[in-house]
Structure formats: structure tokens, C-alpha cells
Amino acid sequence: MSRTTTVLAASLVALASACAVPRVPPANLVEARADFAHARDGATASLAPADLRAAEGALRSAEKAFRDHPAAPSTAELALVADRAALYAQSQAAIVRADEDARRATAALEMIRTRGRVEVPRSGAAQMQPSQGSVPGR
């Protein structure tokens, strides 16, 4: 009796654990998480904060859809929208960075023209390389 109860309890625990294992997220969601983390941890947070917040909201919607309806087509589509939002934020940040570089260089040129000497500013554009060529999630 005692052994039967133990086996039954162990089986129930195993079954409950199996059911509790999180389902595998769609590839789009995995990429959206990675691209958002890349944007959040890089220069995007300071250069394009509003776009980063929008990307965070899109990712939150995709995560909720995955929790509520993991297999629905709309879940994968929301994840794709979230991924594109994260890439958009990175791209917007790169635009801001490139514009700053151009402004600095223009100012330095102006100094050359007026004073005849200048300290060359360091470019940051080459350090930001979001989404070059590949199309994640497709």
C-alpha cells in the first residue's frame, strides 16, 4: 500500500513536472529577445530611448502572446514585429551616432578654416553595426 502510494505520488510529480516544462519559444521570439537585449545593453539606450521603449513594449506583447497562445500564428507574427522594432531602434541609434559624427567633423573643418589647426575627432559610426545583411526570423 505504502509502496503503491509512493509510486503514484512520484508519477504524479513527474507528470506535473513534465506539464510545467516551458514550451519551446518560436525562433522569432528568441531572436527578438536577443536583438532587444543587444539594443538595451548597447548605445541604443542613450541614443534612441523612445524607440527602445517601443521595442520593449512590442517584446512584452509577444511574450504575453507566447504565454497565452504559444502555438498561434499571431504569436510568431507578434514576435517578428518585436524583433523588427528592436532592429529599428538600433538603426535609429546608428543614425543619431552618424549625424553626431558628421556634426563633429563639420565643426572641426570649420575650425580649420577659421584657425588653421584642429584635433581630429574619433568616429563612432564604425562601432555600431546592427543587422548587416541578414534577415533574422525569416
Binding site: E77, L87, A94, A98, G133
Partner: protein
């Protein structure tokens, strides 16, 4: 995201500016009143239509974003062109699906909108980097001994 922005922009922008530009000092007040009511009415109409035909707003927003990306020169830059093409394909699929499955069509239109938005941004990024490189090259030339 795309839908809200486009709907508000479409509703609010042109009416106010036209009214202020053409009106004389005496006719300014009534025209201003009309101009202030028009965007609200347009927005209400848009929302009303959207409630009846779910994907219509999303399809229109995606189409607008696609055209915007084309104007930005997305077709001329490899990174941007890929996303522009995906946006175009998604929008086409959304249009085909709209009569039978409006919910899925709306979802696909949102994807198309996000793709087109990214394409436009990548095109602008390419332009901005090219401008920066050009000025920096000019600067290097100027600082060469």
C-alpha cells in the same frame, strides 16, 4: 504601433495648416473652429471604419509605411531592400487574406508595417553614414600635413 501613428498623422496634419495659411484676419476664428473639429471627426471616422473592417487601418498604415520607405531610398540599399521586399510580400498576403480571415490579415499587415519601417530606417542610416564618411574624409584631407 504603426497603425496608431499613421492614423493620427493622417487625421491631424493637413487640415490645420491649410486653414491657417489661407484665412484672413476676420475669417480666422470660424475656420480655426472647423480646423480643430476636422481632425477629431476624421479620427472618429477612421476608428469607426476600423471597427467595421478590422484590417483596413492596418493595411493602409502598412501601405503608407511602404511608400515612405521607398521615398527614403530603401530600394537602393541592400539591407533596406531585403526588408522592403518582405514588407511588400507580407502586405500582399495580408490583402489576399483580408476577406476570409481579417484578424490574421491585420496581424500580417502589422508585420509588413514593421518591416517597411525598418527598411526606411536602414535607408536613412545608410545616408547618414555616407554623409558622415564624406565629411570625415574631407577633414582627414584637410588635416594631412
Amino acid at each position: 504601433m504603426c497603425t496608431d501613428r499613421s492614423a493620427i498623422a493622417a487625421a491631424g496634419r493637413p487640415c490645420g495648416r491649410e486653414a491657417h495659411g489661407r484665412a484672413g484676419p476676420r475669417t480666422n476664428a470660424p475656420l480655426r473652429r472647423v480646423a480643430s473639429v476636422l481632425p477629431i471627426a476624421t479620427l472618429a471616422l477612421t476608428v469607426g471604419c476600423a471597427a467595421t473592417f478590422p484590417p483596413r487601418t492596418q493595411l493602409a498604415a502598412a501601405q503608407a509605411e511602404l511608400e515612405h520607405a521607398e521615398v527614403e531610398g530603401a530600394a537602393d540599399m541592400p539591407d533596406a531592400r531585403l526588408h522592403l521586399q518582405l514588407a511588400s510580400e507580407d502586405l500582399e498576403r495580408a490583402r489576399r487574406l483580408a476577406p476570409d480571415d481579417p484578424t490574421h490579415a491585420a496581424s500580417l499587415a502589422d508585420v509588413a508595417c514593421a518591416e517597411a519601417r525598418l527598411a526606411g530606417s536602414l535607408a536613412r542610416r545608410g545616408d547618414a553614414r555616407a554623409r558622415a564618411r564624406a565629411v570625415e574624409a574631407e577633414l582627414r584631407k584637410a588635416t594631412e600635413p
